[in-house]
């Protein structure tokens, strides 16, 4: 078994009830722990949706899941992306306590976050970035008084030639 690495499955599916369950059930069967899942309709493709599943897995496990996914009736196509070879972005919304001691403004500036709204002593900010950046941002705001938080999970855009090479190695 090879070492685990961070990958994303980009799965084009039919947009209807039960499909996410069927897709995720394959990961469950292999006892794989999913880090993030995002689902979004695909512009220009009526009745289709894109699911991105992000997890750490060995190449053997990836190969097995890919096999099972390719066989699924609802799945139109599957693409396996090595995260180290893709552009990846995540968005986080955080409501943070704002007072003089927290260094709020410096924090916003350091990360390049945007302030979306402010109330008496809290502000809602938005940050887009790589997962590592998001993690480190969340760690920082935890110290400065986090009220609530919501993150989107990963959006991944692979560098095409790398994907092909990776897929060939696995199959």
């Amino acid at each position: 078994m090879s070492v685990d690495e961070s990958v994303a499955f980009q799965i084009l599916v039919e947009d209807k009830p039960g499909v996410l369950f069927r897709v995720i059930n394959h990961f469950r069967r292999l006892n794989l722990n999913i880090d993030a899942v995002t689902v979004a309709p695909i512009p220009g493709m009526v009745g289709k949706s894109g699911i991105t599943v992000n997890l750490k897995a060995s190449s053997e496990e990836c190969s097995m899941v890919q096999r099972m996914l390719s066989k699924s009736v609802d799945v139109v196509s599957v693409r396996l992306v090595r995260l180290s070879e893709a552009i990846r972005r995540e968005l986080v919304l955080a409501q943070i306590k704002v007072n003089r001691n927290t260094g709020f403004e410096r924090l916003i500036e350091n990360y390049g976050a945007r302030v979306l709204s402010t109330r008496e002593d809290t502000a809602v900010v938005e940050l887009t970035g790589e997962p590592d950046t998001i993690n480190s941002f969340i760690k920082s705001v935890l110290d400065s008084g986090l009220v609530s938080l919501s993150r989107t999970g990963l959006a991944v855009l692979p560098l095409e030639e790398k994907v092909k090479e990776f897929a060939e190695n696995i199959l």
Partner: protein, 569 residues
């Protein structure tokens, strides 16, 4: 068929009526099932339809009957049950069909849509439960969705790698009326029914085959499912190369053919296991290299090239990485291969390899390892073969008797040997035999059974008698769960745990109590007489054959060993 069909109009039907009409359009002639609260509207419509209903006594058996029907005909079998326990009882039967890639449509009733999710009486998440054991699940939420669901279900189940499909039908959807359109075809964007074999891939396979010194053909269940047995045999004859099979592939070449070696595997024949491990090339057609067939996988792949032909692309590289593969419809692939080889093939005649396999085959073909007596399981099974016509259908349960049948029952035609290979379901054989008899009432159908397995679905005696579907059950009766006992002898120092079936019915009386025939035999002549009578009988006959609980199935390849390391005594 109703006037609406030839008038080409969209009729207004209840969901139940729509279902029955859709089933008729698919050519369904028989449904195996048990009614219940949530499927009653469908049963009411069944009454007026030409579709035959065969009443099972347990939903598991209903699924096995549909399975047996499908394996014999190659057409999808239909099993029907109510919601809740009806659906969960179907699970084992549907999973059995799934593991052996059998086309089947399971139809279950469901509570009304407004009650789904409320833990209503006999409500269960049938779609959720069936997800891992079916190719697809449908739950129409409007009556007008039913025709498309049925069309898609029959298309999915019978094409590509055939597999069961579920239709879960809420009761209100069965009862409401709506305008329905019965389409000729369906479009399923994510589904590719069939792959065309790439001629370049086939050509490379042909080259590898011609370059091999010691080739062996390995035929799996996929050869039978794609009706490609004649082509496999033609290929073997063209090149004069021996053919081994998997358990599921039994029958893809007549087992009395000079090139047939019999099955490989844990309980494969001596010659097949030995020769496949001496080969330098295995051309595997429509098989999936299951652990029970290949045994120690690294030994199996060592020192030989493997070419894998399969209809299902996801099978390539799943269990082993072949040196070369051809994805595509097996029949088309084999035809292309044959055409290419006809031009350049040289028959392997008078080669060292031919002398070797012929020598081993003639030496071991008729060998019986282990049991030495006259009235022992291997000899009884050979007697069954001698007495049955060529096209008779034999089913098996699961256990020692199944492996004796694998070793000693020579299958002469495809689709005449039905066994639960993948899931290994005890209780499969008897209801499957009834399903087979439904499809081919003019052919004798015989279930090779063990006492443990037969007890699991023996209530199907009621079905066979009531529905006038006479089959023969040969119960190899050793008063124990024989295969487990054999393993306990081999691997647990003879410590028998939970294997003795001390208190069990007298099978003769059991059969008679259902209105069937029952007979106990002692000795081969007695058995011959009983089987001859059974073949003439108009009711099901149970032949109780007492055998020794000490009998072992041999040869036996222990888990982890190479196929050539067989225990023979």
């Amino acid at each position: 068929m109703g006037f609406w069909r030839w008038k080409n109009i969209s009729p207004i039907f209840s969901g139940a009526r729509g279902l029955i009409e859709a089933l008729r359009i698919e050519g369904v002639e028989v449904v195996f099932g048990i009614p219940g609260g949530a499927i009653m509207p469908v049963y009411d419509e069944l009454l007026g339809s030409p579709i035959r209903h065969v009443l099972a006594r347990h939903e598991q058996s209903a699924a096995h009957m549909a399975d047996g029907y499908a394996r014999v005909t190659g057409r999808p079998g239909v099993a029907m049950a109510t919601s809740g326990p009806g659906a969960t009882n179907l699970v084992t039967g549907v999973a059995t069909a799934y593991m052996d890639s059998v086309p089947m449509v399971a139809i279950t009733g469901q509570v009304a849509t407004r009650l789904i999710g409320t833990d209503a009486f006999q409500e269960i998440d049938t779609v959720g439960i069936f997800n891992p054991i079916t190719k697809y699940q449908f739950q129409p939420r409007r009556p007008s969705e039913i025709p498309r669901a049925v069309k898609a279900a029959f298309y999915l189940t019978a094409t590509g790698r055939t597999s069961p499909v579920l239709i879960d039908l809420p009761k209100d959807v069965q009862m409401e009326k709506e305008e329905m359109t019965f389409q000729e075809s369906v479009d399923i964007p994510g589904y590719r029914a069939e792959y065309e074999p790439d001629p370049l891939h086939v050509a490379k396979a042909a080259d590898l085959l011609l370059a091999a010194e010691r080739p062996v053909l390995l035929g799996g269940g996929g050869v039978i499912k794609s009706n490609a047995c004649d082509l496999l045999v033609a290929l073997a004859e063209l090149l004069n190369i021996p053919v081994a099979t998997t358990l599921m592939g039994k029958g893809c070449i007549p087992e009395n053919h000079p090139l047939s070696l019999g099955p490989i595997g844990m309980h494969g024949t001596y010659q097949a296991n030995k020769l496949i491990m001496e080969s330098d090339l295995v051309i595997c057609v429509g098989a999936r290299f299951s652990d029970r067939s290949t045994m120690n996988l690294s030994e199996f792949t060592k020192d030989r090239k493997i070419i894998h032909f399969d209809a299902d692309p996801s099978e390539i590289g799943k269990n082993l990485t072949p040196h070369h593969y051809v994805v595509g419809n097996i029949r088309k692939s084999l035809r292309t291969l044959l055409e290419m080889l006809k031009v350049k093939a040289v028959k392997c005649e008078n080669t060292t390899w031919q002398r070797r396999w012929m020598e081993l085959k003639s030496e071991y073909e008729d060998a019986i390892f282990g049991a030495s007596g006259e009235f022992t399981s291997p000899r009884i099974i050979r007697k069954i073969r001698d007495m049955l016509p060529v096209d008779a259908i034999v089913t098996t349960e699961v256990g020692q008797h199944q492996m004796w049948a694998e070793l000693h029952y020579r299958v002469l035609k495809p689709r005449t040997f039905l066994t639960s290979g993948g899931l290994g379901t005890m209780g499969f054989g008897f209801p499957a035999a009834i399903g087979a008899k439904t499809a081919k009432p003019w052919v004798p159908v015989l279930d090779i059974a063990g006492d443990g397995s037969f007890l699991m679905t023996s209530d199907s005696l009621a079905t066979s008698v009531q529905e006038n579907l006479p089959v023969i059950v040969c119960v190899f009766n050793n008063s124990c769960l024989g295969m487990v006992a054999q393993w306990q002898r081999a691997f647990y120092g003879g410590r028998y745990s939970g294997v003795w079936l001390g208190s069990k019915p007298d099978f003769v009386h059991l059969a008679k109590s259902y209105g069937a025939e029952g007979v106990r035999v002692n000795g081969m002549l007695d058995f011959e007489r009983a089987l001859r009578e059974a073949l003439k009988s108009e009711v099901t006959t149970v032949i109780d054959i007492p055998i020794s609980p000490e009998e072992n199935v041999l040869p036996f390849v222990p888990t982890g060993s190479s196929l050539s390391e067989m225990i023979v005594k």
